[in-house]
């Protein structure tokens, strides 16, 4: 640096301050502070980085210019799901999590950060009502991690290794779960029938070495598991834990898994008031009953109510802190660290705004729009529904009867400004509808697909595949 470099983010780059502080500590230059860094490890050149935009307005122009290259789901008609969902985010949610007090806080103690503790205790409590369970964690990273941890809890509790996977699982989630648990657990897959669990097949493989049965509902393909109580009874008879991975969005109308015997319920909260953000706004929940055996296996923080010196005043604190890696490093359960607390506050605000009637209305709307989309797409000649299960929000269509590949159809419809879904097999397309996709939108999708089944020849399909690759 040949001339004084003064930056708005770094007040003590002001030459007067810098000089005064160096003088105060008796240092000739900042170099003295690095005496312990050996010369051979010192970088002897400036970092090779792009020229900066030190003026804020120039930075804004640059970043907005980049983001302006994006064409978002506001410009495209999107039926994409597969883990990240397009739901409406009420303005109050963004207002609350945009508050500096919440956005920039971190690890304050219960006195100075009372608001954070209460907001997260309320998140736990609101989720608990939705899930009909008594204990919910401060969010972990995402639904993948929540599920990996839930299965690990079952393994630690039982001392058993085998996990029976009863549902179709999102491949990326399975990838994470597998790599996380593979030292301690073995995943075994019981093939689904018509989109949902093969209960008889599952029962035949249960035994006293099964740590847990893992059900996903809705599954990777949006199928809702209708036999949960039977699965639960069978798992419990074998001494296994029932772990249910789910998305909480439907529990205004659907029976919460805990009421059908689930021991651990886990999943992602992105649907509850968080933008899609290119898949970058996920948080994981783990819910259990108020049972010490389960709670003491949870790695996450749990905020609990406490009394104070003043009657009528709510205080808060960490419940059973001794479980955690903060308290005992590797002797704690897995680890705890910076995860997704702000998203938990957002989900809490969302549930408070929605209330019981809002969650019920939304659940019904999702069921209705899903059924409608299934009807409209399933009525197109050559298109068949992937299965006959009850679906919430997502379902698959089989394009083989129309001579279409899923990737080819995606390419063709993108050219019309439509993202029709996610190709999950050569001829299988995963379609997602939410409150953001209206009847007219679904009709437009159906018309676009029908038009392709009418007019596509195998030649044009292959061309489109190349374009979309």
């Amino acid at each position: 640096m040949t001339e004084p470099f003064v930056h708005p983010y770094i007040p003590n780059t002001a030459p007067e301050s810098k000089a005064a502080m160096l003088a105060a500590v008796g240092a000739a230059s900042v170099d003295e502070f690095y005496a312990d860094v050996p010369a051979e490890l010192r970088l002897d050149r400036p970092l090779d980085l792009p020229a900066p935009f030190t003026a804020e307005q120039d930075l804004v122009r640059h970043v907005e210019g980049l983001l302006g290259k994006n064409v978002s789901t506001r410009q495209r008609l999107s039926f994409l799901g597969a883990g990240t969902y397009h739901h409406y985010v009420p303005a109050v949610v963004d207002e609350v999590i945009g508050r500096s007090e919440f956005l920039t806080a971190y690890a304050g103690e219960p006195y100075e950060d009372h608001g954070r503790f209460q907001a997260l205790f309320q998140y736990q409590s609101l989720m608990a009502e939705l899930l009909a369970m008594d204990v919910v964690n401060v969010p972990t990273y995402d639904g993948y991690q929540a599920t990996a941890t839930a299965l690990s809890m079952a393994g630690r509790m039982s001392g058993r290794r085998r996990i029976l996977v009863a549902s179709d699982v999102l491949p990326a989630k399975l990838s994470k779960v597998h790599d996380f648990v593979r030292v301690h657990l073995d995943l075994e897959f019981v093939e689904t029938i018509d989109g949902v669990a093969d209960v008889a097949g599952l029962v035949s493989r249960l035994g006293d070495d099964i740590a847990a049965v893992w059900v996903e509902t809705p599954s990777h393909t949006g199928a809702v598991e209708a036999q949960l109580q039977k699965i639960s009874d069978a798992a419990h008879a074998a001494g296994a834990v029932l772990v249910v991975g789910t998305d909480p969005i439907g529990y205004g109308v659907l029976t919460p898994p805990a009421e059908q015997g689930a021991d651990i319920v886990c999943g992602d909260i992105q649907s509850l008031g968080l933008h899609q953000w290119f898949g970058g706004a996920h948080g994981g929940f783990i819910a259990v009953h108020d049972d010490t055996k389960f709670i003491m296996e949870m790695p996450s923080r749990l905020f609990g109510l406490a009394t104070t010196d003043v009657p009528g005043e709510y205080g808060f604190g960490d419940v059973a802190y001794d479980r955690t890696s903060f308290a005992h490093r590797e002797e704690g359960k897995e680890w705890v660290g910076t995860a997704a607390a702000l998203w938990g506050i957002a989900a809490g605000v969302y549930l408070a705004l929605m209330g019981p009637q809002g969650m019920r209305d939304l659940g019904e709307l999702l069921l209705a729009r899903t059924r409608y989309a299934q009807q409209q797409l399933g009525a197109i000649p050559g298109i068949a529904l992937g299965d006959t299960a009850v679906h919430l929000r997502e379902f698959t269509i089989d394009l083989s009867g129309a001579g279409l590949t899923a990737a080819g159809l995606v390419g063709a419809l993108r050219a019309e400004g439509i993202e029709p879904g996610v190709a999950v097999g050569e001829h299988l397309l995963l379609v997602c509808v939410t409150e953001m996709t209206s009847q007219a939108d679904i009709d437009r999708l159906a018309a676009a697909i029908a038009s392709n089944t009418d007019h596509q020849t195998s030649e044009t399909i292959s061309t489109l595949e190349e374009q979309s690759a």
Binding site: L47, V96, Y106, T308
Partner: protein, 552 residues
């Protein structure tokens, strides 16, 4: 009294907001609505009929969830009041959470990531429609590769500890690919490295060996050499450690690990003081990670989301998480950004899609606001601030900085109040509670407390000399109180949202209340309705078509 206004006293007369808000369930009023859902179109309803009524009985929820019923403004007001009862980093001189690099998170970056051009992007959209965000991911990776000297970078993980997990997961996959997975069962770390290094290694199936420093507080190379063996999978260390002491023999540590066939993993949570000064790869590290929410200026969000960046050498690159963003050049000189699925040796999807995109974009903008000169200024001023604060704190009777006496520190210091404790009986925790009365956050240390009566300060580059002086003055004032009016410290807090809190219910399974629902059950013996009153649940919310028609 008339003008002029009298001079301000030496200490800020702080008072935290105290709204005495009920728990949200107590604010419920039957029938109120916070937000309405769009209606089901008549055409849809005609086509599908009563979808709720048609559900198999076992799938239909019997009683609605007992969520509160509140008008929109009441929800807003409740949460805004809670927000005021929270001491965000934007409000205090947030240097009391050493190891966590509580620096300024620029407001402009929050504005940039709030645009629908980012919030409304789905990760599986046509990459041609995502060129902006993909370019930012790619560029951020390349910049962090330059800062660390590593060959490849992944931004998938959502926090520092998650990034530590990725480090050990890649190391595990590497040894397995070389046929040494069974042989290498141990991970070595140090007590002044973040506890998640030990904890994540354990979760990955390793036995953990923890080394303690030498008498001067420097990592003990001889102890390392004794611990290393063909069983070692990796060393996982922080440098500078949480004491702010840089390990001058770090290259010897890495070389010693390599000599037994182990890998070296670098937790760069404490990188803020060495940006542009020294790099992980130049010391020989195979993998490393940064916390974008620490070093790269993204907000901490009450405990996340953060974001992690994992850097690796070329040898470890095949094990990086996926999917990867790549840049391709066309024959006409144009470039485009594409998404590639993880390769066969990848540890897979450690998290959904591409990581915490809003924070990746913030970190990108932060780096682009600073450039190479700016990043070096970040490091140098962070270190200057720390050594200035060190001098100020050591002027307080009863405070000390154990280890490396007389030496400079890098970006933070783990101090001790042991002398003050011996003199007054006041503990570091009590000082922390009292500090909050002055509007200052204060933290002790990770466990175990190797430094007695610890506190850990990291001033970063974000605070002015006057603010550092103010923080030191608060510590001096509390130390004075500890001697002269110790009850003021012992009975703190005095200016906070709530009063002294009793934590004895939090460790007793019979008494703890982790949710409102459990609290009602345990202490009031019955389920509660959405208004928070004890009584019958669910008799007010219509089920089936009635409610649906009302909403339509």
């Amino acid at each position: 009294m008339s003008l002029p206004v009298a001079p301000k006293p030496a200490q800020r007369r702080f008072q935290q907001a105290s709204w005495d808000e009920p728990i949200i369930f107590e604010l419920s009023t039957p029938g109120e609505r916070g937000v309405l859902v769009t209606g089901i179109e008549a055409g849809v309803r005609d086509a599908v009929g009563d979808v709720v009524g048609d559900l198999p009985a076992g799938l239909r929820r019997a009683a609605p969830p007992a969520l509160p019923e509140m008008g929109q403004m009441r929800v807003l007001k409740h949460y805004l009041r809670l927000s005021q009862e929270n001491l965000g980093a934007d409000f205090n001189v947030d240097i009391g959470q050493g190891t966590c690099t509580m620096k300024y998170a620029p407001k402009v970056n929050d504005q940039l990531v709030g645009t629908p051009a980012l919030t409304a992007m789905h990760p599986l959209q046509n990459p041609a429609d995502a060129q902006g965000v993909l370019e930012i991911v790619w560029s951020t990776e390349r910049m962090i590769a330059e800062i660390s000297g590593m060959d490849e970078v992944s931004l998938h993980t959502q926090g520092g500890s998650a990034a530590i997990w990725s480090n050990i997961a890649m190391i595990r996959a590497y040894h397995e690919a070389n046929g040494e997975g069974e042989q290498r069962r141990e991970v070595i770390t140090t007590i002044f490295s973040h506890p998640s290094n030990a904890a994540a290694a354990k979760a990955a199936g390793y036995d953990v060996i923890t080394l303690y420093p030498d008498a001067d507080g420097y990592p003990d190379l001889e102890a390392l050499k004794r611990a290393l063996s063909p069983r070692t999978a990796a060393i996982m260390v922080t440098n500078p450690e949480d004491t702010g002491i840089y390990n001058p023999a770090i290259k010897d540590w890495v070389d010693a690990a390599h000599a037994v066939g182990a890998l070296a993993s670098y937790d760069q949570a404490n990188a803020n003081g060495i940006l542009g000064i020294t790099r992980a790869r130049d010391a020989g590290f195979d993998v490393c990670h940064f916390n974008l929410h620490k070093t790269f200026g993204t907000p901490h969000g009450c405990g996340g989301p953060g974001a992690g960046a994992n850097g690796v050498s070329a040898a470890l690159a095949p094990f990086l998480p996926g999917p990867r963003v790549a840049r391709e050049s066309g024959t006409d000189g144009s470039t485009r950004f594409v998404v590639r699925e993880a390769g066969e040796q990848s540890i897979g999807a450690v998290a959904p899609f591409f990581g915490v995109i809003p924070n990746i974009v913030r970190a990108y903008a932060w780096m682009m606001a600073l450039g190479a000169d700016g990043l070096r200024a970040v490091a140098e001023i962070a270190v200057l601030n720390n050594n200035y604060l060190l001098k100020k704190v050591l002027e307080i009777p009863g405070a000390s900085a154990p280890y490396a006496t007389g030496r400079r520190r890098i970006e933070q210091v783990r101090y001790s109040w042991q002398e003050l404790f011996e003199e007054t009986g006041i503990t570091s925790e009590e000082i922390g509670v009292r500090a909050s009365d002055f509007g200052m956050h204060y933290w002790t240390s990770h466990h175990p407390y190797l430094v007695p009566q610890p506190f850990t300060l990291e001033p970063t580059e974000s605070y002015s000399m006057a603010e550092l002086d103010e923080y030191a003055a608060v510590l001096a004032e509390i130390a004075r109180e500890a001697r002269e009016t110790p009850d003021v410290v012992r009975t703190a807090p005095h200016n906070q949202t709530v009063h002294h809190t009793h934590h004895d219910d939090l460790d007793d399974p019979e008494r703890w209340a982790i949710t409102w629902r459990a609290y009602q059950r345990k202490y009031f013996g019955a389920p509660v309705d959405p208004a928070g009153r004890v009584g019958s649940a669910g008799d007010r919310i219509e089920t089936g078509a009635t409610a649906a028609e009302a909403a339509a």
